[in-house]
């Protein structure tokens, strides 16, 4: 299934299959979870990243049990604070 992923404020990870804006499409097997998507990305050292699935936040402890569907949209961003 195709999962649309947007990397926000993760400029260093914008390499294929992601474009210069951080948008990309991942191919995942049926039954894959949100945690499976995160495991495919080089997010080590970034701390606990934040995730939105179809515009709904998914807390860390629910990502492994959150099963994805074809054409779902995921947004991932680092744990930014301050500003």
């Amino acid at each position: 299934m195709k999962i649309r992923v947007r990397l926000v404020a993760l400029e260093n990870l914008r390499q294929p299959p992601f474009d210069s804006e951080g948008d990309g499409v991942l191919d995942l097997p049926e039954g894959a979870s949100l945690a499976d998507v995160l495991a495919r990305l080089p997010l080590q050292g970034l701390g606990n990243v934040m995730t939105l699935l179809n515009d709904t936040p998914v807390p860390t402890d629910q990502r492994a049990s959150t099963t994805l569907s074809d054409n779902d949209s995921i947004i991932i961003f680092p744990p930014l604070e301050g500003g």
Partner: protein
């Protein structure tokens, strides 16, 4: 040690500068800086006075880590009663100025009274004097700061000054130091202006001693070992705080068009990526480089240059500072001058930020006040007759440029903008357009998507503020209000302790309470356990609260605008939601040990030794 043990008390009415010993009992209870300054203010100033009365005092306070090699150890605070909120103000700055005060031998400088005519306070180590400053009155920060160094023949002196905004009572005037850093929020610059104090120049050569050098080096090295490899440091250094705009926009937490919306379609033209794009007009990017404050290896500050072909520079001469690289947009200023106003003109936003540094204004409050004016205009509450012919509509970058300059000089409709959003909206009969708490304008986080931030705004002792608590991680995990009261209370105490230590709250993205406590212990020679350190933060929070209650603020002031409480978010992660403050606030009061009216109980005051 860590503390210098000295307070410089400047009586502007009498024209005297005297040294006195630091109250060490208070220092041990409140650490320094924000907490200690608040303790002094509460003891010396009647909370009910008008903030611009000579009886108000303006306290510049450092912490035990200010001026040391502790990571980000260059912070200081200006504490006073705010003319914007009527509450206690504690505005925190970086740059080099605070470290210079400390290096000159002072923990605090207390300004009291009012000078008969404009003065400059000149501090060189243990010597302080008041010099005439009539020739600087009516000039901007960027004109005055280099001129003072030339006059004193002290090129290495550090200067904090007010622009015309502070002289002329703009309610959100700030005090600018080192050209582009500022004691930014709550109108501390207007208090300085009310005292006829144009500037403070400091040169310090005495240094800062720590109690246990070996332990201090060890504690600092341990902290630096965390900072240096951190991806947070790397991101702040490369991109500053600006990437937050893409996060809040995607989350639906980006206040847009005076918070009528929560996502901005023009973000791509004013975000962190946009400042790196090469302009076709001059072949250069807006962003020139980054900049660090004293003892900071993160260096999140931005230096930017306005496109020389942009209309905002049309009346600026070829040697104008506005045509040179200077302090650029960070997240808050970018949000305030772009999405909040529906403007996607990066150069206009940068120009408005330059004006804030030049004339001495808080960009968050300037943006928030202009946003309120735009809504008043769009809704017909004000017309071009009121504004001197300016079409103050959302998206109008030319209006932003004009209003920034008019407000900085307190001229034309800028006088009304300088009232701040709350007074402006009340004046024109539409108070509901004021996106403020306790009269202070909102930072760039919408309380509907970020429930914890809403509670943090509502309970902040200085009015709406994004750096008085740290609910970010919890808010970005979930739009629920569940558990947010505890996060807000705990992080308020941590931030208060950090703000009292002399280091930057941004370092808390990497360091923990124990790291700070270890450095403060080694610097002061006192045993600061993590518990004692956090308790000092809690004590600070409560002394601020007590000041505000004595000033006349009540539980009714711990609230949010109706737009957040009654109008559902139109899009984003919290689409259809309002802020659930009524659910969180009672829980928060209970966690604080306050009664149902938000008054600290005898039990909590006893525990904190504040009876």
């Amino acid at each position: 040690m860590g503390w210098q043990g000295n307070v410089l008390r400047v009586d502007l009415t009498a024209g005297t500068c005297k040294s006195e010993p630091l109250n060490m009992d208070w220092a041990r209870a409140y650490i320094g800086q924000r907490g200690l300054g608040s303790r002094y203010l509460a003891a010396e100033v009647d909370p009910k006075i008008d903030a611009l009365d000579p009886a108000n005092k303006l306290i510049f306070a450092t912490g035990p880590l200010t001026g040391t090699s502790a990571p980000t150890g260059g912070r200081s605070s200006a504490i006073t009663k705010s003319p914007l909120t009527g509450a206690i103000a504690a505005s925190n700055t970086g740059g080099m100025f605070g470290a210079e005060i400390k290096t000159a031998g002072w923990d605090m400088v207390i300004i009291e009274g009012r000078a008969a005519s404009p003065v400059l306070l000149w501090i060189k180590d243990d010597q302080a004097s008041l010099l005439p400053a009539d020739k600087y009155w009516g000039q901007s920060v960027w004109a005055v700061e280099p001129a003072i160094k030339t006059q004193l023949a002290e090129p290495d002196a550090k200067v904090a000054s007010i622009g015309r905004a502070g002289e002329r009572g703009v309610r959100f005037a700030c005090i600018v130091n080192d050209m582009d850093r500022a004691y930014g929020r709550s109108g501390v610059g207007a208090v300085m202006g009310s005292k006829n104090l144009k500037a403070i120049a400091v040169r310090g050569t005495r240094g800062v001693k720590v109690a246990d050098p070996n332990a201090f080096i060890e504690a600092v090295a341990a902290a630096q070992a965390k900072v240096a490899p951190s991806p947070v440091k790397d991101r702040f250094e490369k991109y500053g705080t600006h990437p937050m705009m893409d996060v809040t926009n995607n989350y639906g937490a980006l206040p847009t068009r005076n918070s009528r919306e929560v996502q901005f379609e023009g973000t791509g033209k004013v975000n962190a990526a946009s400042v790196r794009k090469i302009r076709p007009t001059d072949g250069k990017a807006s962003l020139v480089t980054n900049k660090g404050c004293f003892a900071c290896t993160i260096a999140c500050g931005r230096i930017a240059r306005i496109d020389r072909t942009h209309f905002s520079l049309n009346d600026k001469g070829k040697d104008s500072h506005y045509r040179k690289p200077s302090g650029g947009l960070e997240y808050e200023s970018a949000f305030a001058f772009a999405p909040l106003l529906g403007i996607d003109d990066l150069e206009a936003a940068t120009f408005a930020n330059f004006v804030c540094n030049d004339e001495g204004m808080d960009p968050i409050s300037l943006g928030g006040s202009i946003a309120a004016a735009m809504e008043l205009f769009e809704e017909g509450a004000i017309t071009s007759k009121d504004t001197g012919g300016i079409e103050i509509r959302f998206g109008n970058a030319e209006a932003l440029v004009k209003l920034a300059e008019l407000t900085g000089k307190a001229e034309g409709f800028g006088v009304d903008i300088g009232l701040g959003a709350q007074r402006l909206c009340e004046k024109y009969g539409r108070p509901e357009f004021s996106m403020t708490v306790k009269g202070q304008e909102f930072p760039g986080y919408d309380p509907r998507a970020m429930q914890g931030m809403g509670l943090a705004y509502a309970t902040s002792n200085r009015g709406a503020c994004h750096i008085r608590a740290r609910p970010y991680a919890a808010d970005f995990q979930s739009t629920s209000s569940e558990g947010k009261a505890a996060v807000v209370k705990d992080t308020q105490d941590l931030v208060a302790a950090i703000d009292s230590s002399g280091v930057c709250v941004f370092s808390a993205n990497i360091l923990a309470a124990g790291d700070y406590a270890a450095m403060v212990s080694a610097a002061t020679g006192e045993d600061w356990s993590e518990q004692r350190y956090l308790e000092a933060g809690e004590r600070t929070w409560n002394i601020e609260r007590q000041f505000n209650l004595a000033a006349g603020l009540t539980r009714a002031d711990d609230t949010l605008p109706k737009r957040n409480l009654e109008t559902p978010a139109p899009s984003g992660a919290a689409k259809g939601m309002v802020n659930e403050l009524d659910r969180m606030l009672p829980e928060y009061y209970t966690l604080r040990g306050w009664d149902d009216d938000g008054v600290p109980t005898g039990q909590i005051l006893k525990r904190l030794g504040m009876e």
